[in-house]
Point group: C2
């Protein structure tokens, strides 16, 4: 795996990751394909939005249908009909948030499946091997996502165990051309712990570095200030990935601080809940004011929803709980996120990122178009 840094504008970076399944232009947003599908979308439509990489979830896939089954069927790309790059998480985060009766030790985690109560274990070695079986282009080191809030002592202890797990993950990783592994910085909101974590990971030497343990309830301001104190410690020549982020303005602010990659369930989950992302902020399409509105959701958007349907129709589908509501709105929301990233990348190429940000915030603050 190879990272090219093409251009900089302040701390913001325009880059390119070369993987076994193709190129990822950065800054990049990765739609989340939890159970080997981006919920409510055909993979060819995900690609049509401009997405070049998906995120898959180790925790969900190890439980159903199992990593071994996916390996026997030729890997995750073939299984889900997605031939572009895939990054998989390590499973650590979801073991903590979804499973029952989990028990953590230095060795790893023993837990019960949230689906059928069956007992499983996950260690740095097994998580790394699962991701190999899935054929992930980018493998994540197994870590504990330190909860928020956490006392410094707790955050330090958790981070240091994650660093020992990072080393074991790295040792378990089988190097292959076009494949890479990222370490994950932890340390809560404490600058010195983040620094310690970053150093530990740099010593291990990963192909990229993720910023973990943020966007877990601390708020945007604290998230940004934590990044301000630590992102610059990461090596220039490796990609940087802010995990689980986020809202459009989180992404723009993080790009400004030098982050290259993002993932979030927000566009797809919102697509199932009637919430639309637009250049003029979010719009609740359940609202009765759309009932007779013959205008498109966003006249500047190129997605099928905005090209072919009225707000009134989408509102109708949502009220009727029709599957097509989710299909069209998820498609639009992912398109919005990919258009946002394409706009960011274009501005970084010609040194106009500041102007891009001014436009972006003006649009977000403008509010939705008014009723006729």
């Amino acid at each position: 795996m190879r990272f090219e840094l093409l251009n900089k504008d302040g701390s913001a970076r325009r880059g390119r990751i070369h993987t076994a399944h193709g190129i990822v232009d950065t800054p990049a947003f990765m739609p989340v394909g939890t159970a080997a599908t981006v919920k409510g979308m055909f993979p060819e439509d995900v690609a049509a939005t401009g997405a070049q990489i998906l995120l898959g979830n180790t925790y969900h896939l190890m439980l159903r249908p199992s990593a071994e089954t996916i390996e026997r069927l030729g890997g995750l790309h073939k299984f889900m009909n997605w031939d572009k790059p895939i990054l998989t998480d390590s499973g650590g985060y979801q073991v903590m948030s979804l499973s029952q009766l989990r028990k953590m030790s230095e060795e790893g985690v023993v837990f019960q499946s949230h689906i059928d109560g069956k007992r499983h274990h996950l260690t740095p070695e097994y998580s790394t091997d699962i991701q190999r079986m899935l054929d992930a282009d980018i493998t994540m080191a197994f870590d504990e996502c330190t909860p928020y809030p956490a006392e410094k002592k707790v955050a330090a202890k958790s981070m240091r165990m994650s660093m020992r797990w990072a080393k074991r993950s790295r040792e378990a990783f089988v190097a292959r051309s076009g494949y890479g592994q990222f370490g994950i910085v932890q340390g809560g909101v404490f600058a010195d712990l983040r620094e310690e974590s970053t150093k530990a990971l740099r010593e291990i030497d990963f192909d990229g570095y993720a910023i973990g343990g943020l966007a877990v309830g601390e708020g945007q301001e604290l998230m940004f200030s934590t990044m301000d104190s630590s992102v610059h410690l990461l090596p220039e020549n490796k990609p940087r990935y802010l995990m689980g982020v986020g809202k459009p303005d989180d992404i723009v602010g993080a790009v400004m601080r030098g982050v290259d990659m993002f993932d979030c369930v927000l566009p797809s989950r919102s697509g199932r809940n009637g919430q639309a992302f637009t250049r003029r902020g979010t719009v609740n399409m359940r609202n009765a004011r759309h009932k007779e509105d013959s205008r498109p959701l966003d006249e500047k958007c190129s997605c099928p929803l905005c090209r072919n349907y009225s707000r009134a129709y989408l509102h109708h589908l949502i009220r009727c709980k029709e599957i097509l509501a989710c299909m069209l709105l998820t498609r639009h929301n992912i398109q919005y996120f990919q258009d946002l990233m394409a706009g960011i990348r274009a501005s970084l190429e010609n040194g106009s990122f500041q102007a891009f940000m001014v436009d972006f915030y003006a649009g977000q603050n403008a509010g939705d178009i008014e009723l006729i």
Copy 2:
């Protein structure tokens, strides 16, 4: 509206209906788009299966978003982004099966919405006007679908009221070029009542004739014998539509008896329940035997599911209750029904319908492919 009878093979007919929104090749299967959407499908994908006409439901659309709203928004075609022909039912059937506290009189039906309990009325005149507001290419006369079983006296009384309603529906219909209206034969399973009903409708003179009150629990044998005694009484030069039918072998048997048009929720509803239609009969894709099966559902099918995914993947999506399971399987099932109709039409063109039927039944009786 104009019907061309192109060819006959025994009683089976190959024809073509010319409507305001294009041609319908018959025998034709109409996917059901109840609430202005074929559940789980983009309309362009419905068209890609070869479907040339959809069915819309007056009852559902009058309640949400209302016929008046759809008219203001430019009609049902524009509302749901489907520019090919649409047939709408009259609402009579669903008032009886879905609404609460309905009260029928000679005038029509007063009922409470199953959604919000609001009071509505439906008469032959208003049903016909709703279908005009929706801009249906083919309008159905307002009738009562006689329940099954019904004593002859009850069936006669119900049928005669439907015939008076048919006359009122016809008088309320506004003739426009490319638009037509169908009357509906009732009379339960009683040959003499069916004959009386057919004569009454022929006297009124419709643009096509539907066979109603069948496929309501009487079983295939009684459905076919009822048709055997009455279908030949319908005029040769007008299309014939068997409402709510049906399973693939119901369709083949009805085509043999001279029917031109069909509609059924079966392919889309089954698509949401994990049941697949194939050349070798139905297959329950929830069954654990598919868990590791890398083969396509049907290697002869051209749909995206069969081209791009394994049985194992579809099985996985169904177990995980993923929306994509419904999207892919509904697409396949509608493709199966459209391929069936295309095969029937081709065989009628070259006089090989008998051979087609032999192949069809052999395939259906073969059973699914065996485990490797």
